[in-house]
Symmetry: C3
């Protein structure tokens, strides 16, 4: 039987995703279990984390397991990912060794590895987590690379708590301004999961340059073909918000500008009015607002929106704990006892 | 019922403090319990820690709980504390979100946040931990900000182990030299706890500029009015040490010089003779010496004093473990099961 | 009874080492136990770690204990090791306090402290771990200083898994190139453990300047006198590899060049041909290859060697978990219950 990973929700059937969400709801009602008794997970953070680290570490503990948190390049050795390299640079060991050794120690490996933001054609290969998945002999979990599937599950769980069935809900994924060009991971993920669950999805962004990678656009089109939802791109704020049930915000850098961000900055700065505010939310169908966090207040969304009852970002963040426990439990079911 | 925090010992009655100390003594005799079974604590360190981190992490574990250690701005996202800010600077998320999300994950939140040392009028507002206490929906514990209440309990526990009843003991809190202008937290705390427990307290410092913030001086005066102790300020080393039962040392920067430390440095450097040495200790009533640690040897106290039987700093440090378990257990008693 | 540490395998009798290895084999078959129930270990990392940290943290957990990971100078206070110093420099506390306080909290202390690489006559004193062993009142474990005894046990365990009895096996410890002048710790350790277990050991290095410290050469000579093995130094690659059963590779800086590495660099760079490759391995007696990791591929050993069945480096890395649990269990047996 081939090894099962949690790299993207697209590798999991809709029935499997529903089962994960059901298990997450069960964990929300009753936090403790023995699904990871005697098992362990290594959490590799190539980038900062607060929610992910806390919720995975606690989640493993609550299921009887143990999490080891590692920061390669900071308190562990920097890692090489290319094949065949003569390693005379900064990296001290190859992912092949790291993944194989960790697989001897632990039962699951989680990896957070953001893009380098220099060349999208490189970043879109997502080679760090793919290398771990290639060499590890235990399941690998995506803690955010160029998608963020754990966030997807937490997000859709929060939406279900609010709406129940999500078919044909009007869902707006809106770009917002941020002083730095950010990762597209959560935006890609929002597109995938919203289309997967049959919603009518609008991708709202300033210009065509801010449309997401065609790989994710195409997957989203395939998803709506199966799920019965729809997908459109819009640059019209008022039209997008009108009648929306769900507004999900995220900032990201425009893909054509990777590596020459000084050229993108003035475009980004000219669209600060994409901020989610009360006026825009008033156009919705008494819609809810969410965001993956961290969120810069009064940049991405106003204090008024963040502090309103419509904001379910804290619920979504809480759900990270529950869905990730469901993912760990599902993957660990198939790992051998030591 | 409103949420109970452990931000300062002044919020806890003398009977409550005595109960915490009794519980700490019980934990010293028998380390293990289930008071935190199924519970967890997030420990947020904005500044370095050795004793605090080790003793809280172990203490939670010994009571059946789990501690997650986070370093915001280093391996987690930098946090904004001001209200209404347009967050276009370095901070990536607001304490409102951090505190509310952590409250969904954990049952207790510990926060270490030292002053910035630029403007005492700002630092004295202690806004980091106050913001956590404001937004968190679980109890918040002070791991040292501008006071250090856990150290207070460990200190008074060590003194009781030595003396039993502390009423009317002659207690000297002496300033000492240190190459850097340090936090007044432990000095403020020593003043509070020594006056609270009815001791005759002398604050010994080089000049009137080194007297502590009037807020703590006034609380100390209120404390002695209730406890039957006394409080005086002295700049006379020999007179202060003579007949003392307890010498507690701490270095701190003079409050009027915050933000212009180059002006304070020569004053500080001219008072290196405040070092605790054998000659000074010989003036005491066979007194004990303690310090919160870390301590620079032969700067704050000589090797001879540190290595003498009179030094109870190691006992005080050990007691951190016991008193903090008592604090966690007391606060967790009122948190809901998940 | 005097305190037992695990600072070097030379302090442990051959029978004791055999018992540790037997226990490690037992742990490899059955991972879980209660040998550390209610006990804890502080892991102090003055340098980065991946395998050591993960395997110790997990190992303690699997035996019912708890590990606290500390990084002095990074997230804990910088520590002074000299005696009698007037501490007006960068260090904030003395090892005497750190070791004594940690001994009150935990039952075992592990220390990783690499040399400073400026002056070998200083580094060879190994004063960091010796200071911890001097002041601690609990056992201290060497996590790599100027030797690496945990690696030794993992290494010899892997060799026994392959060969059974190791008497008179032909063992080559070969120097290899690395862009930086590295620690001699694993090389010293390989020399000690291979001679201890009765092997015919060749130390292969580019020039006499790369021979290891006379302290370890002399211990190795004493070891072979007792164990029945042999020791020779060679600068002839082909002669050394011919008929070898075991090739163990490590790079290190030449001792006479400590502190003036610019002079050593050209010598080191002129010996890149010491890389372990298929041609060299073909000279052996169908020998195995190993390395302590991290390893720079195509610098110390080629991809072909690393990915060949002859490479047992991953097994050796796995064994770190098992042997370290055996060491912790052996030391904790004699620590008092709290």
């Amino acid at each position: 039987m081939s090894l099962r990973h949690f790299l993207t929700t697209q590798d999991w059937s809709r029935a499997e995703l529903d089962a994960l969400l059901d298990q997450a709801v069960a964990f929300k009602h009753s936090r403790f279990g023995q699904q990871l008794a005697g098992k362990s997970i290594a959490l590799l953070f190539f980038n900062p984390s607060m929610r992910t680290r806390t919720s995975f570490e606690l989640g493993a503990h609550q299921l009887g397991g143990h999490a080891v948190v590692l920061a390669p390049g900071k308190d562990a050795w920097p890692i090489e990912f290319d094949l065949g390299t003569v390693m005379d640079g900064d990296t001290e060991e190859h992912v092949s060794e790291v993944a194989r050794v960790l697989s001897r120690y632990v039962d699951l490996i989680g990896v957070r590895a953001f893009p380098k933001f220099q060349d999208w054609s490189v970043d879109r290969e997502d080679r760090v987590i793919k290398a771990f998945a290639k060499y590890a002999t235990v399941p690998v979990i995506n803690l955010e690379t160029i998608t963020h599937p754990c966030q997807e599950l937490a997000h859709v769980m929060a939406l279900r708590e609010k709406f129940g069935n999500l078919d044909k809900k009007k869902y707006v994924l809106t770009w917002t301004y941020h002083p730095k060009p950010l990762n597209t991971a959560v935006a890609n993920s929002a597109l995938l999961i919203a289309t997967r669950f049959g919603m009518d999805v609008t991708l709202l962004c300033p210009t065509p340059e801010y449309v997401l990678d065609e790989r994710y656009m195409e997957l989203a089109r395939q998803n709506v073909a199966e799920s019965g939802g729809s997908l459109r791109v819009s640059h019209d704020i008022e039209d997008s918000y009108r009648g929306a049930d769900i507004v999900y915000a995220k900032s990201w850098g425009a893909l054509p500008y990777f590596g020459r961000w000084q050229d993108e900055a003035p475009i980004r700065q000219s669209h600060k009015h994409f901020i989610v505010d009360e006026a825009k939310m008033a156009l919705t169908n008494n819609g809810v607002f969410s965001h993956c966090l961290p969120l810069r207040r009064n940049i991405k969304a106003t204090d008024a929106v963040m502090d309103s009852p419509a904001c379910i970002a804290i619920d979504e963040a809480e759900n990270r704990l529950h869905v990730q426990k469901a993912v760990m439990a599902a993957l660990a079911r198939h790992t051998p006892s030591r």
